[in-house]
């Protein structure tokens, strides 16, 4: 599903190159649950952002379903975001001005899904996450765990093939974290490919493969 070849990311400041990712060669198959671990500043999030096409590599090649991502236009990347990738962030990144329902519904609006179908799909997600009673609340009226549930709901409503989770439990209590990890595991079991970045060895174990990053290098 994903192939990274000699991928590098660096920032140039006058004459000094600061490397964030170095010579990354990685292949991720469909249906995998990959955990990326490493200390702060090792490049985990950058790698995830590049895989999620939110950031661009400085050199190297990236293939998504054998298509060269590094050659795609902004419009094509937007299409990929819409239809194939769901994101879960450590700080949830829900839109404060929209209710739970509206936040979850939003990706469908950009996919131009018809109103009737949208309603059904959002209802299904709310039901699945036991959030029906919370649907009209705004993010600041929810606990962290509930916000992350809504964020996951938003990530999966478009039926993406890939979910990218950047420290999804980083801001949560242990119990809430566990609930989220169980949910991700279930999604993986249902066929969604998941890549998570985590500090926690325990959470990493939910994945069926772990890679470690150190100073931008992969130590598998």
């Amino acid at each position: 599903m994903i192939k990274l070849k000699n991928l590098e990311k660096y920032y140039t400041n006058k004459f000094v190159k600061t490397f964030v990712l170095r010579n990354i060669n990685l292949e991720i198959r469909e249906g995998e649950f990959l955990s990326v671990m490493g200390p702060s500043g090792s490049g985990k999030s950058t790698l995830l952002n590049i895989i999620g096409m939110l950031d661009t590599p400085s050199s190297g090649e990236y293939f998504f379903y054998d298509e060269p991502v590094h050659k795609k236009s902004e419009k094509q990347l937007t299409e990929l975001h819409r239809n194939h990738i769901g994101f879960v962030f450590q700080s949830y990144h829900l839109i404060d001005e929209l209710t739970v329902y509206e936040n979850i519904e939003m990706p469908l609006l950009y996919q131009k899904v018809k109103a009737g179908e949208r309603k059904g799909r959002v209802a299904e997600i709310l039901d699945r996450f036991n959030m029906v009673a919370k649907k009209d609340l705004f993010p600041n009226q929810l606990s962290g765990g509930q916000q992350q549930l809504a964020a996951i709901g938003r990530a999966i409503i478009g039926n993406p093939k890939l979910i990218l989770a950047d420290e999804p439990t980083g801001n949560l209590h242990t119990d809430q974290g566990k609930e989220i990890m169980e949910l991700l595991k279930k999604l993986n079991q249902e066929g969604t490919t998941i890549i998570q970045v985590t500090h926690s060895a325990e959470n990493a174990k939910y994945g069926n493969r772990i890679i470690k990053l150190s100073d931008g290098w992969i130590e598998e």
Binding site: K75, H81, R82, N83, L94, I95, L98, Y110, Q111
Partner: protein
């Protein structure tokens, strides 16, 4: 999708109440002011356009006035085939009209040629506009006058007596002349058979009291015709005036706004200068409001980076994001526009009283204006929405997600630059208002050379030529304790000096044209005018009546009298006499201070004295005036006495400037208010963005005053720069305006400094509130929030 955009926009506006209020209220206010000024400008530009033949109608003018002898128009029309028709108007200040044994003193009674209703498009309610004034002693009145005299009766065929002498039959009733006509009358008397009324004056080339309008054939070259007119008139005046003036043709459409050079016009006109000033102010205030709006929208958008980032991650295209921001911008503008219409409705009565106009809001509903408003709304939404729509949505999503607020260096500069522009405008307006205020104050308080307070005047139809009757009236008036002094003259200060005669100094042959004021003896004492050299007229010396003359200083100069003027002799043509100079007065400002004091001579001639002057002691105004009227009517039962205070009449001369100043004052205040609101909003965002910085600085030991200085410094710097740009602009504008006055204030540089200081204080006090709040906050709170 649009529903979603709308929800986000609505909730965002609701969440940021201060931002929403400032944006919407500021814009609505700006739009309302602009709309009102647009109404004013449209009205000013519409003068005389209602005339179907407006393009072919011209007025004959000389460099300083537009008055001609009655024969001039006939001579030109008879000899120049280019002239299709002509109309002469002889405007009379006032007269007594009698109907059914009731007398009314009417102001503005003109005589005009019958062609007036063929040339100008005044609408008739009854009668035939083509022929209404064809017969001698006919008149046309307005609906207002018809109601006043005849209530519901049909006025056609009724007879009005003018000045107790001639009977005029009403042959037509016209609708009231439109507000936007450069002359408006309620009655017009025919000039047909005018020789029966005015006798030989109608062929007197010196009797230059007629305005002349020509309707020209299509496609005539104006300059050629002007030359032909001059060639025809010049020989007529060869013996009168060796310095023959230039003649020109002024388009009817130009009369209202381009007649600043014409003295004593048919009715007071406006100047294109004020139309331009108010157009500019309208645009500037709208600009200030738009700058506010754009600034605040950008400031607000930069706090919405997260939203932009998330939407991009979810799959929103740049176009979709752009559409959302432009749409939001349009929504706010549209709300502001609707509110502005309410403001316009509320503000219209005040605006009407300030401009002295009756304006109709519906006049704005034209296709051109609707398209203009739509273009403005779409254009401004686009400009305001442009930055967030295209710049922020271009950023990589990960950049936007990382930053809570965007703190690009260039953007801050752009925003503060806009604040600078705004304050430049405000400073120009403040400085202009300060100068205007000083000038009006100067006009009202300048020593004019006579006592203007507690002096009452009344004009009569005839003259105080019967000395015994006049003296009896005077004695009767002086019997009253509240009367200090009584006199009479042909002119009193606050009037124009338009009686011209010629004086020839002894030993000279060349006549010099000098304004003449014919007076009774106590004239100078009543007005508190002192002699600078020599003495004044004395009632003890009967020779003063036929032999004495008093000059003002300008007249002495104009006549080029050598040595001591007292005792020198002059030959006078009105009345024809030889006179000796008995005194010289200062240059008394008879007219408004727009023009220089004319060379003026004073002489005793009872037959010309039509204005009674009464100096009273301070007392109850109403009782005083009533008593004066009662006494005067007792002696002159055929006259109607209406007394006015001279200082009120003087103030009236500057009324249009006082109104303009008041309007300017309001507009300046509004512009300050709108910009301050914008600055307040911007400070709000700016402080919010620097909360963490302030917290860290405080933790590191910065004192509150130091932080205050840091926060206020940026804004202050821009206001100071704005001063430097604004001063030359204000200097140019003020200097240009002051050129309208012959007597004007100096360009006081401290007024510019004062203007700048006011702007700075306003900016500082606006920003300080936010800055003090931010600087005194507990750093723990701000850092915890991060």
């Amino acid at each position: 999708m649009f529903e979603n955009y709308f929800k986000v926009a609505y909730r965002n506006l609701k969440k940021n109440k201060a931002y929403t209020f400032i944006s919407v209220f500021g814009l609505a206010l700006g739009l309302a002011v602009c709309t009102l000024l647009l109404l004013y400008v449209q009205n000013e530009l519409s003068y005389d356009q209602f005339n179907k033949n407006a393009d072919n109608i011209y007025r004959l003018t000389q460099p300083e006035h537009a008055y001609h002898a009655p024969q001039v128009a006939i001579k030109l029309a008879d000899n120049l085939p280019e002239i299709k028709d002509f109309v002469r108007i002889f405007p009379m200040d006032s007269g007594i009209i009698e109907y059914d044994n009731k007398k009314f003193k009417e102001k503005n009674i003109p005589f005009a040629d019958p062609a007036i209703f063929r040339m100008f498009s005044f609408q008739f309610v009854s009668g035939d506009n083509e022929t209404a004034l064809d017969k001698p002693f006919t008149t046309v009145i307005s609906e207002t006058l018809a109601r006043k005299y005849f209530a519901n009766e049909n006025p056609i065929g009724k007879v009005l007596k003018l000045g107790g002498e001639n009977d005029y039959t009403i042959t037509g009733v016209m609708k009231d002349m439109p507000q936007n006509s450069h002359f408006r009358y309620d009655i017009i008397l025919t000039l047909s058979g005018a020789d029966k009324v005015f006798g030989s004056l109608m062929i007197n080339l010196g009797w230059q009291n007629f305005l002349v309008y020509f309707e020209l054939q299509e496609g005539i070259s104006k300059s050629n015709l002007e030359e032909k007119c001059e060639n025809l008139i010049q020989p007529l005046y060869k013996s009168y005036n060796p310095n023959f003036p230039k003649y020109s043709l002024q388009s009817l459409k130009d009369i209202h706004l381009y007649s600043a050079h014409i003295k004593n016009d048919i009715q007071p006109q406006n100047s294109i200068t004020y139309v331009l000033i108010f157009s500019a102010i309208g645009i500037l205030i709208l600009l200030i409001a738009c700058v506010n709006y754009i600034n605040l929208l950008i400031a607000n958008a930069t706090t919405r980076m997260k939203e932009i980032g998330i939407k991009k991650v979810i799959g929103a295209t740049r176009n979709q994001l752009a559409l959302q921001f432009v749409g939001e911008s349009f929504l706010v503008l549209f709300i502001a526009f609707i509110i502005s219409l309410i403001f316009v409705q509320l503000g219209l009565p005040i605006f009407e009283s300030l401009t002295g106009k009756v304006l109709s809001f519906t006049a704005l509903i034209t296709l051109k204006n609707i398209v203009g408003v739509l273009a403005f709304l779409v254009g401004t939404s686009f400009i305001a929405g442009f930055y967030p729509a295209f710049f922020l949505s271009k950023l990589e999503p990960i950049q936007t997600l990382r930053a809570k607020t965007f703190t690009g260096k260039s953007k801050i500069n752009f925003r503060t630059l806009l604040v600078g522009v705004q304050f430049t405008i405000v400073i120009v307006l403040i400085c202009s208002a300060l100068f205007m205020f000083s000038q009006i104050d100067y006009l009202q308080n300048k020593k004019l050379g006579f006592d203007k307070e507690f002096v009452l005047t009344s004009e009569i139809n005839g003259a105080f030529d019967n000395v015994e009757k006049y003296n009896a009236l005077k004695a009767s008036l002086l019997n009253e304790s509240f009367v200090a002094s009584v006199s009479s003259g042909s002119r009193v200060p606050s009037n124009t000096t338009t009686n011209f005669g010629t004086l020839i100094p002894e030993g000279e042959t060349k006549p010099t044209s000098i304004a003449l004021v014919h007076v009774h003896q106590d004239y100078f004492e009543t007005l508190g005018i002192k002699a600078k050299k020599g003495g004044l007229f004395s009632s003890q010396l009967s020779t003063d009546i036929d032999n004495a003359i008093i000059l003002n200083e300008s007249a002495v100069k104009e006549l080029m009298l050598k040595g001591n003027p007292i005792g020198q002799s002059l030959k006078c043509d009105w009345p024809k006499s030889n006179r000796t100079i008995v005194g010289v007065t200062d240059d008394i400002n008879f007219e408004s201070l727009y023009g220089r004091v004319r060379p003026t001579a004073f002489l005793i001639d009872y037959s010309e004295c039509s204005r009674l002057i009464v100096k009273v002691n301070p007392s109850n105004t109403e009782t005083t005036i009533n008593k004066l009227q009662a006494i005067c009517s007792n002696f002159y039962p055929d006259e109607i006495f209406e007394f006015h205070f001279v200082d009120d009449k003087l103030e009236y001369l500057y009324q249009s400037d006082i109104n303009t100043f008041q309007l300017m004052g309001y507009l300046t205040f509004l512009s300050i208010f709108i910009s301050s609101m914008g600055l307040f909003g911007l400070a709000l965002f700016s402080m919010k963005g620097r909360t963490k910085e302030i917290g860290i600085r405080k933790v590191l030991g910065a004192s509150t005053p130091r932080i205050l200085i840091l926060l206020v410094k940026d804004f202050t710097k821009w206001v100071l720069i704005a001063n430097i740009i604004a001063w030359p602009i204000a200097f140019y504008a003020v200097n240009k305006w002051l050129q309208n006055f012959a007597y004007r204030i100096e360009m006081n540089y401290w007024l510019f400094l004062l203007g700048g200081l006011i702007a700075l204080l306003i900016a500082l006090s606006t920003v300080s509130y936010q800055a003090v709040k931010a600087a005194t906050a507990n750093p723990v709170d701000s850092l915890r929030n991060e």
